[in-house]
């Protein structure tokens, strides 16, 4: 085997190895299924509850993506405003920092008062938890344009709008896509938190109700589905990043 194939197989080997070690530990120490179910128990329960898992993950996926979409729109607009105007930056930044310091789970009860339980609070929690890194990254991309670059364009006769469109936005693309990878995982966290606290749909709700029925393997099945969805969305964001800002990677083959 060449070094390259070994490198490519590594993630699979580690993942499979992790589950094998888990299974062996459970059997070796004869752990109670209520404490830590073995992967085989979890798998059995996952097959049994496959339709429920599918239904609830679809719901979680929906609220995550809806919240994430909102976060992208608002985050980019906000980041563009902060990054291109000193005045807006001065005014808005402290407020944003303050807002970002609030643990978002604390907002869920308020969202429930406003919108009732269910889909809307989940979408909004996913949104509020994930727009901040997007806004900050876009603003950074815009604010760190080299002075030489803007000087060259201004002396050619470019307007502020020209500079924003031709330099600012293309330049902040790698920053934006780097933040999307973080934001998609965050909005996923937001969705699940809201579902756990206040919903009758979604993986978070499924896990909560499984645990109150002492069906621990199903709780773990929910966890594994969450991990799987998280990886899939992260990879999707990473691939989008590679496609749209290949120039920032200069032909190297990193996907992370």
């Amino acid at each position: 085997m060449t070094d390259r194939t070994i490198e490519r197989l590594m993630p699979w080997a580690v993942t499979i190895g992790f589950f094998v070690v888990w299974e062996i530990c459970c059997r070796l120490f004869d752990l109670d299924v209520f404490i830590l179910p073995a992967p085989s128990d979890i798998w059995r329960e996952a097959i049994k509850f496959a339709p429920e898992l599918a239904y609830h993950s679809a719901q979680t996926l929906y609220t995550t993506l809806a919240g994430f979409g909102l976060a992208v729109v608002v985050g980019v607009a906000l980041g563009a405003a902060i990054g291109s105007s000193r005045l807006v930056y001065r005014g808005l930044y402290p407020v944003l920092i303050g807002f970002n310091s609030i643990p978002k789970v604390a907002l869920v009860p308020i969202l429930v008062i406003w919108f009732g339980i269910g889909t809307v609070p989940a979408i909004l929690t996913a949104f509020v938890i994930s727009f901040f890194p997007i806004a900050v990254n876009v603003a950074t991309g815009l604010a760190t344009i080299e002075r030489d670059m803007t000087d060259v364009l201004r002396s050619l006769g470019a307007s502020r709008r020209d500079i924003l469109l031709k330099v600012g936005l293309p330049r902040s693309m790698p920053y934006l896509f780097a933040s999307l990878k973080v934001a998609i995982t965050l909005s996923f966290v937001g969705s699940v938190i809201a579902e756990t606290v206040a919903s009758n749909k979604g993986i978070g709700y499924l896990m909560l109700s499984a645990s109150s029925n002492y069906n621990v393997p199903l709780v773990f099945a929910g966890l594994l589905v969450l991990a799987l969805l998280g990886v899939v969305m992260y990879v999707a964001a990473a691939m989008l990043e590679m496609r749209t800002s290949a120039w920032a990677f200069r032909g190297s083959d990193v996907v992370s």
Binding site: D148, V152, L156, G157
Partner: protein
């Protein structure tokens, strides 16, 4: 010849809030159309300040600057600029990096939006002239430092500006590449006849390229010497070893030296 640029007692004071720093004494200067002017001096002598003033990127705190018949008020439009840092856009190919000059130029942007064709031709032939035909569709990181600087120079002159400002464009290059680019620069200037202002630390570069070298003193900047360079054109690297050429370089060296000793 007419003066393209005229400075009337232009001075610059930076206000840091705590103190006022004078970067440039009141200066009179006129640059004829089609002239190649070089500005030399120790670091911190206000060379770059002078350049930012000439292009209107910074507003002078006193005096008046005229380009053509207009008094400068805000950034001068349609000026080409090239810095030591090539500052190309990494997401654009070589050709597209050069074309940006047409895209944002007030004189060309409309025509460019209608039909890129003729502009692509102009940019391509300019790139061919500096030996970059094969690299038209490459991205900046695929080019060497010298090639990037050639693209940078192309971008600053492709739209036929009346004034081209060069702020140590060859400063970061190795000696061989730098000398090769002097020849390229000289040829472009002879062919196209733009007015050029070159800021440099390199006295040989100043003498090789310019019609006149002005020497500035350490801060606060002020012009302490003007030296016309009457060597015939086109100049060659061979010429830089002649007595006449060396004479100019020594003279400039001496002026800078005495100024430094006095301060």
């Amino acid at each position: 010849m007419n003066a393209l640029i005229e400075l009337k007692s232009v001075g610059m004071v930076f206000d840091t809030g705590k103190e006022q720093i004078r970067a440039l004494e009141a200066t009179d200067l006129s640059i004829d159309e089609g002239h190649f002017l070089a500005v030399v001096g120790p670091s911190g002598c206000g060379k770059s300040t002078l350049m930012r003033l000439l292009t209107g990127l910074t507003r002078a705190s006193e005096g008046e600057i005229r380009i053509g018949d207009v008094t400068l008020d805000g950034p001068a439009r349609d000026v080409g600029m090239a810095f030591q840092n090539a500052s190309l856009m990494p997401w654009r190919t070589t050709l597209d990096n050069v074309l940006v000059s047409f895209e944002v130029s007030p004189h060309h942007r409309r025509a460019f939006a209608r039909d890129r064709g003729p502009f692509v031709d102009q940019a391509s032939s300019l790139l061919a002239e500096v030996g970059l035909s094969k690299f038209k569709d490459r991205f900046p990181w695929e080019l060497s430092g010298g090639m990037q600087q050639r693209v940078n120079v192309c971008r600053s002159i492709v739209h036929a500006p009346r004034l081209v400002m060069l702020d140590e464009p060859f400063g970061a290059l190795d000696a061989f590449t730098r000398e090769a680019l002097w020849a390229v620069m000289q040829r472009l200037w002879i062919e196209r006849g733009f007015t050029a202002v070159l800021i440099t630390h390199d006295l040989r570069e100043a003498v090789y390229l310019s019609d006149e070298v002005i020497v500035m003193s350490a801060r606060p900047g002020r012009i302490i010497h003007r030296q016309p360079i009457d060597l015939p054109r086109p100049r060659s690297l061979e010429m830089t070893y002649t007595d006449a050429f060396q004479g100019h370089v020594h003279m400039l060296r001496e002026k800078i030296q005495t100024d430094q000793e006095m301060s």
